[in-house]
Symmetry: D2
């Protein structure tokens, strides 16, 4: 068993880490770090538990520690970070001296030598790690995962980009409130309403997606060369981001072929049979009213993205449209970091 | 005062007609038609009232009649139709022999000689009426208004099409449940959820918009020649459709110029000062989290469309994006028919 | 393995039966009956699946049969009924000639010799079965479970009634929309709203609770002699009924003693270790903002009722208040019938 | 015209004051006080406007001042306070030296010589003002209104208490999220959920109601002598508190008589024809599924309380039940203070 820690352990994504790591065959949660307000308390006493199932017994008595590497026992190998971006900026580097940091924070995404990875999409970027360790003289390293809405989109784009020449992508999102944290979206803002703006989200989707679907030349990532534009919106849904995608290819295509390539897409996690890897990263549904967040967010234990309404776009040449749903705090956050760590544990540690 | 009737008077759009016509300076509701189950009853007794304010006193005692021209008094001039499409197909023609039929039904939209009109967008199509009357030997005629999501989109596209060369439009909608009628969307389908499909909606948006923004050559409409693709979705909002719009122009543009043209757009109803015409058909907001359905649907008494998040699209040349909110059962249904009738009353009757 | 059938198999409670019976150690679903519209089709083809997890593979290919005993194979022993009350009235009797009918329908509740049972509350009522079989000359029999809101209430009242002298109970409910069936509550009725009326619900709660907590004298049930009044309301929650309970005792009491009696309450299903029996039928929470439907409805796999806010009622002598949450379609419907069948299978078959 | 100020002007109740005071025939808003962060800015620039209709033109350019009497112009006569309770405790007294303070804050409710008033219920308590002024040597004074859920309840109890001998009242509430302020209830807490706890609410309802329905002996209030118990819960509704009420009388009664007394109840504001007074403070509906918050909260411009489901309670002697809906931020907050000020303006100033 690999001992792991969670940074930001009392927050909503921190709790999701703990929930997903319960009964993990390779990882055991032994360290929980949070703000100094929580440090020193039993985890159960420090935490208002937001998950729908009960807090795992195994973490209740763990004493919460401060979010500093010095507070961490040496027998921890991997720390999962769900820290706020500004705090992560300095803290994750401090941990990286000695620990593997699998981070869901945006602080270090797309920085030189710090891999931004979805294991099914661009696992080769883990090769950056050597350079990162050398450059910083670290024993550990940082690996990051993308933004929640990006992950779901990129997973569905990967089999398309691999098999067709993509000219352009436009995506309009309908995102769940959990993406903003427990207190992020007031009920006054979202009951009988929606909010057509999520700060920084469109920029993240546009830049991260092209990086993930680009090429790693052994030293740098060369972004994919298609165009991608996003419009991001918050809707009254607890979990599960929905995205309406418009795709234009360079060439003629067969829509059944697209469906086929998506449905049969497998990546390295499936090949390696990683614990959190869904059997199919992309599930294609034929019912015309799917995917729906409440019905489909838990597909593949929340690690699969469900695609539906895949159809030719009659208005444009060589174009098609689809809708996807992905679980934003599982595949789009904690589960993403865990799958990264599983890949690292299998290939590197 | 012009006496008017409402067909489908007990339904949700029928009730919206009655609500909007209360205190109308030119129109007085004197006839209410509904199914034979309701016929013969007082309107108040026949109706489960769904509107948020009280049923107008003036209609409570009106005896509901059957939906047939024979049941209608001769002193009625205009009938508003919120009939289901299949029923409207035959019934509206029967009424058109003697009455002006201002229809919100889709049955006769875009048919030869039957105008599909938004008064601010293509009032010239009312010139079809002569041919319609001659062709059918009718004293009355049928005029239709577009689908709810189309109206809001077309109103915002009009000042763009008039001032710029539009190459393509993609629109992703987040539509209110009232658009499906009172019983249309079960709560089980939409709480903590959304439904990424609305039957026929995308086809209507795509075809009606190009018609409305096309050219009437005196006999036929030549569709606008840009490309338009829609993806339509239902969200947990009572009233107010939200639409995320991606626009590609043929040429360079200035984004402030687009905002300016939208904000200052006026049409014939504004010029004629029609009773239901909003001062500005399109309101442009600068706050980055607007428009929101609960906050903006009632702008201009529900007859204005609110645009926000107007921004350049960095991913594409000559492109910009925006979000709009329009009230789907006011400007998008009953209010649309009433404004058509006001224009007809002013120009033709 | 006992072969079981489900009547009303394509409906929402029918689907819940199938979901809960997947992987059941003693029961295997081999017969699925529905309306003649569905009969003859594969279950997967006949059904719009509403559950959040996938349809079990084992039922997809079962051919749906008509809802008549003649269509049923003889090797079925138990049929679960989620039929509408009016249809259940005649059909369940026809099945009872040959089959054990565990019914969630209200048709035969509290009828002479037909047990209305919650296994933790009044298992002794199963002794009515002999008389029922003799009276009707049936090989099978009917056993019913109470209304969803009654079950949750009665489970929490049982340890109180057993240990204290209850004078009166008043209960105000906040019930989930799933209780009305998939199409039962339009979204227009419940978004930013609630409906303070559920037809027949108050009468069921008031009469069924007194029966369940009464005494079976070997031939008839003598109702409990305290007073019980209910006010029932529908709120925008998918699953999980919440009930605010006001209790007046005849005597002084200690509030910790009440909590203790509830938390340690066990019934026959716990003693017999029945498969669907929760470890504790009533869970008592101390956090002041619990129970909440989304957080607590799945306690004990949906078979436990969670109580919180247990507090003395300062306004009245010998009085206390609490709030409960129970899963209305698991413990309150399909799970209730299954637990009844498990008890019957253990004690009678 | 009387010049009035609003304390806490940028908050949600502050905005409701401004909205309700637009076009008021007697009051003109000339001073807006808020935190030092807002002071010095134009009101429009200092405020994120949460109301559904537009910010009144008349307040946009008012310069926000600090919340201290020194910052206020002398020509203001009445200040409306929507300050947080702890801040109100000291600040309102400072204003009371020179101004009439009509407060929605809970800080001074039920204190000696400070009237807690609903104009239809206990206007005689305004007679405390003389003693208050003398005791403190103030030129102004403080008058308070009750908690939102109390006001709606007390208005419906008043005609009952006046006409029948009430023995006990139990009330279970389903309260709107706006009652907690814009950021008070996270969407994560309330979508597909409810929260069965509102801090301090039950205590306020129980104590304030007995005060309001008690007797003022010229010096002190002697509480009403019936028993009243509350259980308070938050549901996913924007505006409009719903309350299920169980009432036990000492004597036999006729349910139609109760309905009649409620429906015909009028108080001093109706007699004086105060501007914000609804024609009927209590509206009684016969439809069995009313009142509903979205449909009934705006009755009487949000100043009337709607009662429905008035029915005998079969379980108890001399008992009945009903459900009420009242607008929590109009009649239950800003509108309550304004009506108090109108009464004061009519009778005292």
């Amino acid at each position: 068993m690999v001992n792991v820690g969670v940074l930001g352990a009392t927050g909503m994504v921190g709790q999701r880490f703990i929930q997903l790591l319960e009964n993990h065959p390779d990882f055991e949660v032994t360290a929980l770090a949070a703000s100094s307000r929580s440090a020193g308390k039993r985890y159960e006493d420090a935490t208002t538990w937001y998950m729908n199932n009960e807090m795992p017994e195994s973490v209740k008595d763990i004493e919460v520690i401060e979010t500093t590497p010095e507070a961490m026992d040496n027998d921890v190998d991997i720390v999962f970070s769900s820290l706020p971006a500004d705090f992560a900026l300095t803290v994750e580097k401090a941990y990286a001296k000695d620990y593997v940091v699998a981070s869901n924070a945006s602080a270090h995404r797309m920085k030189k030598n710090i891999p931004l990875v979805i294991p099914e999409v661009n696992p080769e970027c883990l090769d950056m790690i050597d350079a990162q360790q050398k450059e910083n003289d670290w024993d550990g390293f940082i690996v990051t995962n993308p933004n929640c809405s990006t992950i779901a989109l990129a997973l569905t784009l990967k089999p398309i980009v691999d098999n067709f020449n993509v000219n352009s992508v436009r995506v309009s999102t309908m995102q769940a409130v959990s993406g903003a944290g427990y207190n992020g979206v007031p009920s006054m803002a979202i009951i009988d309403n929606l909010v057509p703006y999520i700060g920084g989200e469109e920029e993240k989707m546009e830049s991260e997606s092209l990086y993930l679907l680009g090429k790693f030349d052994g030293s740098d990532v060369i972004n994919a060369d298609f165009k991608l534009s996003a419009s991001c919106h918050r809707v009254p849904v607890i979990d599960g981001h929905t995205e309406a995608v418009f795709i234009e290819l360079d060439d003629k295509f067969d829509i059944d072929d697209v469906a086929d390539k998506m449905a049969n897409f497998k990546g390295l996690p499936q090949e390696l049979n990683l614990f959190s890897a869904p059997e199919n990263p992309v599930i294609v549904k034929n019912e015309n009213d799917r995917p729906q967040p409440r019905m489909d967010r838990n597909a593949g234990n929340g690690m699969a993205v469900t695609v539906g309404r895949l159809r030719e776009d009659q208005a444009f040449d060589n174009s098609f449209k689809y809708v996807l749903v992905g679980h934003n705090t599982v595949r789009g956050a904690a589960g993403a970091s865990i799958l990264n760590a599983e890949l690292i544990n299998d290939k590197i540690l």
